[in-house]
């Protein structure tokens, strides 16, 4: 019996985004107004993609990890570490290239650490990345020596607040990364490897797939994405805050991936849809802000969204709906 899948009929994510944007427009009539000022676009919509960029970047890295039935809880902490490295390098007077390479290298190392725990020691991903989640913020504070390191390097600040072709820099970076990752996944065999591992890791190994190398690569890429998001977040506030940079963003990233329709049970994923998920989350955040409701409602709304998605994705609900549907069909025939 084929399970009835709502996701196959319409893309519910697009519908959800349209609904949220429409709601935002009701509570804030100027929501869709976009103006051109000082050589860049301004407006609430632009703000949504700008603020949503860090979570989108995290979600790009997280998608493939979740597709292999893994999860990376350490991305928030890695953001803090990378931000701290970037800030200290900028304060030391290093040029932008060195700063970026240093921060991204640290993120890559964190990802490799997570990946080797999962791939070679066979730890549960949840547990393996928990270690860095706990210790990472400590390391970040060690780098910034417990204070908030502020910097004024214009090149680094440009990464967080500048604009390219009128679009804010973070959004440009997120879009470019999304395209690159999507092409690698869908135009090479990588995507198939990921789906094979997510469906059945042992079977994938028996077919001769180097599952360990693939998993290691995915976690390393996740770390790299987290570092990039960390640099953007630090550049945005012109400082590295080891305690608050990227706090709770791992949860937003997981939520974005889940909203995008990637199954937590592995084997099915889409990177552009995860980015769309991140945009939906940010549209909700912005909507709550512009509507004047206290930002605390955000958490409750997010929780309700997760529950709604879980109900929609649930096998059992699908079975019940399918059974009802089959019964209706039978009745129609007789």
């Amino acid at each position: 019996m084929k399970r009835l899948q709502l996701t196959e009929i319409v893309r519910p994510q697009l519908l959800a985004l349209a609904c949220i944007l429409l709601l935002n427009w009701f509570v804030f009539p100027g929501f869709f107004t976009i103006t051109w000022q000082d050589g860049r676009l301004f407006g609430s919509l632009i703000d949504v993609i700008n603020r949503g960029a860090p979570v989108a970047i995290l979600a790009i890295g997280m998608t493939a990890i979740i597709a292999t039935r893994g999860v990376d809880l350490s991305v928030g902490a890695v953001m803090a570490v990378a931000g701290a490295v970037a800030a200290t390098a900028a304060v030391a007077g290093q040029p932008l290239v060195v700063t970026l390479i240093a921060a991204l290298l640290v993120g890559l190392l964190c990802g490799l650490w997570n990946g080797s725990l999962v791939a070679f020691l066979g730890m549960q991903p949840f547990v393996a990345t928990l270690v860095l989640m706990v210790a990472g913020r400590g390391v970040a504070q060690l780098i910034t020596e417990g204070s908030i390191v502020t910097f004024s390097d214009p090149a680094l600040i440009f990464v967080g607040t500048g604009s390219l072709l009128g679009l804010p820099m973070p959004a440009v970076i997120a879009l470019a990364l999304m395209l690159a990752a999507h092409l690698v996944m869908r135009r090479t065999a990588m995507g198939l490897f990921v789906e094979a591992i997510g469906t059945n890791r042992s079977a994938a190994s028996y077919t001769g797939l180097r599952t360990r190398t693939v998993i290691l690569t995915l976690y390393a890429f996740g770390g790299l994405c987290a570092a990039l998001a960390g640099v953007i977040a630090a550049a945005d506030i012109r400082g590295a805050d080891a305690n608050n940079a990227g706090l709770w963003l791992e949860l937003d990233a997981i939520l974005a991936v889940v909203i995008g329709g990637t199954s937590l049970l592995g084997g099915r994923f889409s990177i552009p849809m995860s980015v769309l998920g991140a945009v939906i989350i940010q549209a909700m955040n912005t909507g709550i802000l512009v509507s004047g409701l206290p930002p605390e409602f955000n958490l409750i709304v997010k929780a309700s969204v997760i529950i709604l998605i879980l109900v929609m994705q649930s096998d059992r609900i699908g079975e019940i709906v399918a059974r009802r549907f089959a019964r209706l069909k039978l009745r129609g025939k007789t």
């Binding site: 039935r69 999860v71 020691l121 066979g122 730890m123 549960q124 949840f126 547990v127 393996a128 928990l130 270690v131 860095l132 989640m133 706990v134 210790a135 990472g136 913020r137 400590g138 390391v139 504070q141 060690l142 417990g146 890791r201 042992s202 080891a242 949860l251 997981i254 889940v258 937590l264 049970l265 206290p294 605390e296 409602f297 955000n298 958490l299 409750i300 997010k302 929780a303 309700s304 997760i306 529950i307 879980l310 109900v311 994705q313 649930s314 096998d315 059992r316 609900i317």
Partner: protein, 326 residues
């Protein structure tokens, strides 16, 4: 010795060695005062960690504990100061709300068949959100009952104070241990963590047990929140942020297997004490910054996960019953 007690013995041994090393450096750490403070300062963490132990033994995870602690503290504060209820009545309401909350999460996990970590993640958002809507500031609780409880303690020889909340934590560990190891419900929990399918085939009521486990976890989270409000004499919606990780770390350091089916309540007590020891050592040292606590706990966590891996893969090789990596 029974090999199944080995990880527990290792944890206990490491704690004793670590404590001995600390005492060698700072002899004044060997006093009932420090021990008494150990219990008082970690009471809320310990109580929540007992709940986390049950959840983890059953093969699940509860990320909402910290948020439940915050919500319980705020709810008690609101009920006592805004509505003027007697604290005991307020506690009963708080514990009921927390248990119902946990039961709801358990039901979602069982009936929707979704991974516990995502359900409890939603629970965490929900609890923090509700707590923040109730109040955004810290509400001080100024009540006769709170003052009485805070001033009650049992004076140990050597000047140490065994406070009410410290004793409560020990009591929770005792009761938790009895439930886990001596009751039918306890064996259901272990059976579920070992293999849910065989547990169901053996006649374990999987649905009821799952719901009861998460209800128990949140009940203890609520109790921990009440203890936290007694400890700080206030309710704050952002209290105990990230505490779920400390609780999970305590459980893992205590030798409980994160894949479920194996673990001891007593081990969690050692795990909590070991974390307390790290904090106390850093306070005694004075030159180390508090962020070393996080790094040290992360390292401890890593060491113990590695240790478990080694012990259990050695056993697995012997019995040829290696688990397929998840």
């Amino acid at each position: 010795m029974n090999p199944r007690y080995r990880p527990l013995a290792a944890t206990t041994l490491i704690f004793i060695v670590a404590y001995a090393l600390c005492i060698m450096q700072y002899p004044s750490m060997w006093s009932t005062r420090v021990l008494g403070n150990f219990l008082t300062d970690n009471a809320f963490l310990g109580i929540a960690a007992v709940g986390a132990t049950f959840v983890i033994i059953s093969g699940g995870i509860d990320l909402s504990v910290g948020a439940v602690v915050g919500l319980a503290g705020v709810l008690s504060a609101v009920l006592i100061t805004k509505l003027g209820l007697h604290p005991l009545l307020a506690f009963a309401i708080v514990l009921f709300v927390a248990s119902a909350f946990g039961a709801g999460m358990g039901a979602a996990i069982h009936f929707l068949r979704v991974p516990p970590f995502i359900v409890t993640l939603a629970g965490m958002f929900m609890a923090r959100g509700v707590a923040s809507i109730l109040t955004q500031d810290s509400i001080p609780i100024d009540h006769e009952f709170y003052r009485t409880i805070s001033s009650l303690y049992y004076l140990l020889p050597g000047g140490g104070r065994l406070s009410v909340i410290g004793l409560l934590m020990l009591l929770v560990f005792l009761v938790g241990g009895v439930i886990a190891h001596k009751t039918r419900f306890g064996s259901y929990v272990y059976a579920l963590g070992g293999n849910p399918t065989s547990a169901a085939l053996m006649g374990v009521p999987v649905g009821f047990t799952t719901i009861a486990i998460y209800a128990l976890g949140s009940f203890l989270g609520g109790l921990a929140g009440i203890v936290y409000s007694l400890y700080t004499s206030s309710g704050y919606p952002l209290a105990a942020v990230g505490m779920e990780l400390d609780a999970i770390a305590a459980v893992v350091i205590g030798g409980t297997l994160l894949t479920g089916g194996y673990g001891f309540i007593f081990g969690t007590l050692i795990g909590v004490m070991l974390q307390g020891l790290v904090q106390t050592y850093i306070v005694f040292d004075g030159t180390l910054s508090s962020w070393w606590t996080k790094i040290a706990i992360g390292l401890l966590l890593f060491m113990f996960i590695l240790l478990q891996k080694l012990v259990f893969s050695a056993q697995g090789r012997r019995t040829r019953l290696q688990k397929v990596p998840a």
